[in-house]
Amino acid sequence: MDNIIEKIRKENLLGRSGSMFPVCLKWESVKNSDQKERYVICNASEGEVETFKDYYILKNHKEDVIEGINLAIKEMEAKRGYIYLNASYFDEFGKELQEFCGEKIKVIKKRGGYIGGEETSVIEAIEGNVPEPRIKPPFPSQVGLWGLPTLVNNVETLYCVAKINKGEYEGERFFSIFGDAPNKGVFVFPKDISVRELLEKTNNIPSFDYFVQVGGGGGGDIMLPSEIDCTINSLGSVIIYNKEIDKYQLMKKWANFFLEGNCDKCTPCREGLYRIMEMIEEEDFDEIEKMFFVMQKTSLCPLGVVAVKPFKTLLEKIIYKENENKN
């Protein structure tokens, strides 16, 4: 019989945080480490705007998530496991979850903003430090919590692992649909469903003119209705917007989200976002491409890369065109 890592490999399970990183490689890397003391972290920080799939999974399928964590602990021969839990989820059901987990798994309340959910920030936070990203490499699977090999997986990833282990996994994925969606909620569908099918099957094709944001209400890409015949290769989150929405307000909301949520450590992300906010306020985008360039190419962690996506896609697909039409 295949061991769990082989099973995961066969199913080609990709990280459900949106990273789309092959899960079996992370597991192997930790398992094959020379260091004997290891840790497992279930990342339940879910910090994206209007995205609630991990919340839904923890509320409805916590047994499977915990089973996934325990499978990881066993496979890694880990010393212990942690659930790093979104602060408001922690307030709502953290205590209950802790009781359910037993002693081997510790539930920890998330500190800091959006960046606090990045895997190396999670490790810093659990160690009691300022939740800030570390320089990678080394990756957590080699040098993680307390400098020891650490597996960091998303809630949904660990849920899938449990399902795979039981032979019940059918390639399903959780999709969070919010914003101006007529029928908001979290839905389960095959992972390769197209955005259009997803909206159709959940009765979420709006009657008004719309566009969507795919991959998170902060760092997701803006897509026009003509572009949605594709699968989701990032976070399982779709936000629907009425096309009449004040797009400058929307951009300010994103800018605020990232300004609040980043760690302010590296120049391009800290200053680039500050100037992007200024450019939105002044509706002057002459220098914005350069901000996008340094954020995408030279940020210290993925946040700077992700943060560019909504602005760039909204500007290019909608705002610049609208402005052209006005002139």
């Binding site: 120049t267 391009p268 200053e271 680039g272 500050y274 350069k290 901000m291 360039f293 940020s299």
Partner: protein
């Protein structure tokens, strides 16, 4: 292991960063936040290069087999230039009043990459200035958020500089915690690439003492300054410049120029006496006290060690006292008509001269402290040609120190002077760990364990050891700054391990030609004890002081106009 840089194959060792490899191969990669004394933060994103097609920071990226690195391309230039423009967008320029004196990495980089330094309005132009005692200022409008200061402050074991959330931004601020205070070592000054930290009064207040007419103006030069000030004028690191400095100080109005190394000889003699007394009376360990940042560190963080600090005053305070109380009479001027300016490698000395406990009655032994940087700036403003200045000896009677006195400028100098003075022997030290060397010596049949430590973080570890085992060391010399005063917070920038090493060599050279080696053999010491330091009362007044537990000091905050904000 091999990699390719710009198409050329080079040998590398595992674990090396791209920046290290480039330096070894004389390839230029621009850096800004990188400093060999602090941990790599990779925050400024200037040392961007391409590795296997991705832009990465050279300072933090380790090489791997077959890696292809490109250090120059249009894309790399664009990244560096834009990040530089963003750094300038937060940094309020005040180039005329900056410790980097236009010799600044940021400006160099701006030229190298044609950065438009004013493309954005300065984000921090209304940010406050924080004032730390009489020693230090932090102008947060210049801060570029590299956090080197926080790291070095932490490394010093002080942890006074901290990150605090301000709206959406994490910013560097002085800690509000009651159990954290600045000790004025000034290491933040010399590790900030943006000139956000400076000494109080640097450089606005340096002219004042020189305008006081009808006064006898005495300059006294600290040991370490002679091996560093030349740097400011294009002389090699460590170039012994005492005699040039004397000439130039005379040129700007100094009536007499003395050598604080003689003050050091007095300190040595007094400290040797105290050591022997303490050995006799079992009042060990004894801790040195000539470093004011170390003294403040004890008074604030480890007050339980106050009784262990030697009561001997620091060299320039003793010398200032002798000048005002003894020499003034001899040359026929009133003590109130003498102005003593100490030329110091240190910003904590600015706070030290304000201490009540060092006064002689109501008299301040030293009126002003000017740092190496301030004096250099003054010469530059006065268009004084330091580099080509002729050599003049320091003035008598306080111009000819022992070689021991000169060695006070570097870590280990105080300790070896004192031990040499009492035993006539050189103690053999072994490096125990980074920043700490230890010697076991025999004195009159007793084993004495001597410890020399530099860097406050290292000194903190020694104090912790002494808490566990109070007689682990019997006599400890501690200097707050790395390498001792040659690495002081008042010294020229840039500063790093390599530079400190050269300064130390230069200082040793400066001491070599001294006729007298031992402090107590110095004729001026003996004649001063015979003429003036005759009874215990006078010795106590001139040479000894006391210490007191310190509470957290008030951190004044002003706006850019200098108006109080708290």
């Amino acid at each position: 292991m091999k990699i390719k840089i710009n198409g050329k194959e080079v040998k590398v060792k595992e674990g090396e960063t791209i920046l290290e490899v480039a330096k070894r191969n004389d390839l230029h990669i621009p850096t800004l936040c990188f400093h060999s004394d602090v941990k790599i933060s990779a925050s400024c994103r200037i040392c961007i290069v391409s590795a296997n097609g991705n832009l990465v920071t050279a300072c933090s990226t380790k090489v791997c087999e077959g890696m292809e690195v490109i250090t120059n391309s249009l894309e790399i230039d664009k990244a560096r230039k834009t990040n530089l423009e963003l750094l300038f967008s937060q940094h309020q320029e005040e180039c005329y009043d900056c410790i980097w004196n236009l010799n600044c990495k940021m400006l160099d980089l701006a030229k190298e990459f044609d950065a438009r330094i004013n493309i954005f309005e300065d984000r921090k132009s209304s940010y406050p200035i924080y004032h730390f005692g009489s020693s230090l200022e932090f102008d947060s409008s210049k801060c570029i958020d590299c956090r080197n200061c926080i790291d070095i402050c932490k490394k010093q074991g002080v942890e006074f500089l901290d990150l605090q959330e301000n709206g959406n931004l994490m910013e560097t601020v002085p800690s509000e915690k009651e159990n954290r205070d600045c000790v004025y070592c000034g290491q933040c000054i010399v590790h900030c690439p943006a000139g956000s930290f400076e000494a109080v009064g640097e450089f606005e207040k340096t002219k004042k003492p020189l305008k006081e007419k009808n006064k006898t103006l005495i300059f006294q030069i600290a040991p370490a300054v002679r091996a560093t000030i030349g740097e400011e004028f294009g002389l090699p690191y460590g170039f012994p410049s005492m005699e040039k400095l004397v000439t130039c100080l005379k040129e700007i109005g100094g009536d007499k120029v003395f050598d604080v190394s003689i003050g050091a000889d007095f300190t040595t003699v007094e400290e040797s006496k105290e050591l022997l007394e303490r050995v006799e009376e079992n009042r060990l360990p004894m801790l040195t006290s000539c470093c004011p940042a170390w003294v403040k560190f004890i008074e604030f963080y480890y007050p339980e060690f106050i009784p262990n600090l030697t009561t001997v005053k620091s060299p320039h305070i003793i010398l200032g006292g002798l000048v005002k109380k003894h020499l003034a009479q001899k040359i026929g001027v009133l003590e109130s008509e003498v102005t003593v300016i100490s030329v110091m490698p240190c910003v904590a000395k600015k706070e030290e001269i304000e201490r009540e406990q060092i006064k002689i009655g109501n008299l301040k032994p030293v009126d002003y402290v000017m740092t190496t940087r301030e004096v250099a700036r003054f010469f530059k403003n006065k268009k004084i040609d330091f580099k080509n200045a002729k050599n003049s000896p320091a003035d008598n009677p306080f111009g000819d120190p022992s070689s021991s006195g000169v060695s006070y400028g570097t870590s280990g100098g105080v300790m070896s002077s004192a031990f040499f003075n009492i035993s006539g022997e050189e103690a053999e030290f072994k490096e125990e760990r980074k920043g700490l060397k230890v010697a076991k010596v025999n004195y009159n049949g007793n084993e004495l364990r001597l410890a020399v430590v530099h860097g406050l973080g290292n000194a903190k570890k020694v104090l912790e050891e002494l808490k566990e085992d109070p007689l682990k060391y019997h006599y400890v010399e501690a200097m707050a700054c790395y390498g001792g005063c040659i690495g002081g917070g008042g010294q020229s920038v840039p500063m790093n391990e390599e530079i400190r090493k050269k300064r130390k060599e230069g200082l040793c050279l400066s001491g070599e030609d001294k006729k007298v080696k031992k402090a107590k053999d110095n004729p001026i010491i003996n004649s001063t004890y015979e003429d003036f330091l005759k009874d215990e009362e006078v010795i106590k007044e001139i040479c000894h002081t006391s210490y007191k537990k310190k509470e957290k000091s008030f951190i004044r905050k002003t706006n850019q106009k200098g108006e109080n904000e708290n």
